[in-house]
Amino acid sequence: MSDRTAFLDRLRERLAVPAPENLPHPLVHAEAVPPVEYALDLTDLADAFERAVSATGAHVLRGTAPEVLQSVLAATGAQRVVASKDAPAELGLPAYSGPVEAEQADLGVTGALYGIAATGTLVLHAGLAGGRTASLLPPVHLALLPVDRLLRDSGELFRKMGERLPDGLPSQLVFVSGPSRSADIELEVTVGVHGPRELWIGLVS
């Protein structure tokens, strides 16, 4: 606690006299945070979401949860499947037990709390999922997102937190936009460095 007091006292001391104004380029005061205006066609959220998701290199399927799961199993040949607590109950998949189990799986199946159309983003909630690694450790991730949970843009979440997350922030909230990628080697984009190399999103009604 004494570390904290000394630390903050130092800041207060330094801030006691405000920094000199930059006269050639004065600061223009902003009273409020302006919302981000996207130059995107967001009239049909599902279509916009699908376009944005495809741009990230992920796949979108529409249908019922069991149909989507079948398609993904066929496309990927996955044998060992783990699921998080928020995967649709109708799939009958037991919730995974921890990272060791997730690490050994070929496919992780999860739900998603929201989808964000402007950027093709999934919003994953660790409390609802009962954990963090079902969507992260297996090489393929399938997220089942109800189409009525699509939001226009991230502002619809961040500017309305009370409404969108009535119980507050979970231990971890993650935005996922596409498969894991890196361009660290000569700027050549490679997928699947560390996180999943394939991302499938089932837009379910």
Partner: protein, 454 residues
């Protein structure tokens, strides 16, 4: 090639003749600068956001003690721990203490420039703890025993063959230089580290005070793994990297990825609020946030305070004519490019020439998503240095200034200058003035004198 020469001028001289570095820098900075234009086109009110961001960062800094207190209180309310580190030593000791308490032997790290600033990896190694960087570029340079040469692409100065050589050090044979294969190797190697690590150390892109949260953005997923698998998570955050509200974060999230790489959003945005909770089968049992001062408070209240607005996007590097020629290593420290040229002399007093690594073109200011007037700060640093320099140079400037403030003296000295130019040999002029050009010879008199007599 390692650039270990001691002055900015010497390091730059090494960098500009390194053809591979030159090619890599041109390629990367062009690509990012072009992609940024595409990325920002998706935002209709980019300039409005930049202007607002500058003001909002200033508003947060003006209330920094209250904002940090709110962040800390809310983290502690969730059972997290907050350590207030006055300097690098303090921060290192705390992290070591946490590691020792958990008998940690292996630590995985996701990108944290603050942790490089305080030489955390060296301190861990000295205590017998293996600390593995997991960001692919950072892992490559860690194995190569080098420092990062770009904020976003730490290994940009290496080509695929060099990277293959570096990674082959930890492989069972020589690796091919195909990026996809090198990445597959990295995935496999680092995956086992993630699974076995005793502790994860991350940086923080933004702390968000209103809910006691930290946000980490990555494309690879290592930021999620480091904060999800090991039983302990320690986050290191420069004290100025905070926001008050999620509304402000939404604004920063619109700016940061687009300015950095032109992406609409990074693959992952990881928002952590304390350790795991009941009913969760994974996630760390302990969460620690280290809030780092290490000289930042000295910048508060000065004309340089705005450098603390920086969100570490790297956009200024990509447009800087100087950075594009000399690369990150020439700056001699963790932060390079225009932001490094301002921040390094302020935090690391030994490096006090970096403000000269600039043409004052202002491209950095134009590129900066939060509108930091970097060229004003560079000028301020130069002025500060000139004011503190004494000796012959100062007398010389004063003499010149006096001479040219009086018309009669101006007239006399220019005539004298013209005459003496004919007798003073060129080799008496400073060598830097002569490199690559012929010194023009002054005329015998002033233009006005010639005009009056013609």
């Amino acid at each position: 090639m390692k650039n270990t020469a001691s002055t900015l001028r010497e390091r730059s001289a090494v960098a500009v003749v390194d053809e591979q570095l030159q090619g890599a820098l041109e390629n990367a900075t062009d690509r990012f600068a072009n992609q940024k234009a595409v990325g920002t086109a998706a935002v209709a009110n980019w300039e409005e956001l930049r202007t607002a961001a500058r003001s909002l960062r200033a508003q947060v800094l003006a209330r920094l003690p209250e904002v940090l207190e709110e962040l800390a209180d809310k983290i502690e309310a969730r059972g997290g721990h907050v350590h207030w580190a006055a300097d690098a030593d303090d921060a290192r000791n705390y992290v070591l203490e946490v590691a020792k308490r958990h008998d940690a032997k292996l630590v995985v790290k996701s990108k944290s420039m603050a942790s490089e600033e305080i030489h955390l990896n060296d301190a861990l190694a000295a205590s017998g703890i293996e600390a593995v960087e997991t960001d692919l570029g950072e892992w490559i340079i860690q194995l190569a025993k080098e420092t990062p040469s770009h904020i976003i692409l730490p290994a940009i100065h290496k080509n695929r063959r060099q990277i293959a050589e570096v990674l082959s050090q930890v492989a069972d044979g020589d690796l091919s230089d195909v990026p996809a294969e090198l990445c597959a190797f990295a995935r496999e190697q680092l995956r086992s580290k993630f699974m076995q690590a005793d502790m994860g150390i991350s940086g923080v892109n933004f702390g968000v005070a209103e809910t006691g949260s930290i946000a980490i953005v990555t494309n690879e997923g290592n930021g999620r793994l480091v904060t999800s698998v090991p039983p302990v998570h320690v986050a290191v955050m420069g004290m100025e990297r905070v926001l008050q509200t999620w509304e402000q974060f939404d604004l920063m999230l619109a700016l940061l990825p687009r300015a950095a790489t032109g992406q609409q959003i990074t693959t992952y945005v990881n928002m952590v609020s304390g350790p795991r909770r009941a009913g969760e089968v994974d996630g760390p049992d302990e969460f620690h946030l280290v809030i780092l001062d290490n000289g930042r408070s000295d910048i508060l209240g000065t004309e340089f305070q705005e450098i603390l607005h920086c969100i570490r996007c790297g956009a200024c590097l990509n447009v800087c004519p100087v950075y594009r020629q000399i690369g990150g290593h020439a700056y001699g420290w963790v932060y390079s490019g225009p932001v490094g040229a301002v921040l390094t002399p302020l935090l690391h007093a030994a490096e006090n020439e970096l403000q000269n690594a600039s043409t004052l073109c202002g491209a950095c200011w134009q590129a900066c998503p939060v509108g930091i007037p970097l060229q004003d700060l560079l000028l301020g640093l130069r002025r500060r240095k000139a004011e503190s320099t004494g000796g012959v140079e100062k007398l010389g400037w004063q003499a010149w200034s006096t001479a040219w403030s009086k018309p009669a003296l101006y007239d006399a000295t220019t005539r004298l200058g013209g005459v003496s130019a004919k007798i003073v040999p060129e080799s008496w002029t400073p060598v830097e003035w002569r490199e690559g050009r012929t010194i023009p010879r002054p005329e015998a008199g002033s233009f006005r004198r010639w005009f009056e007599h013609e």
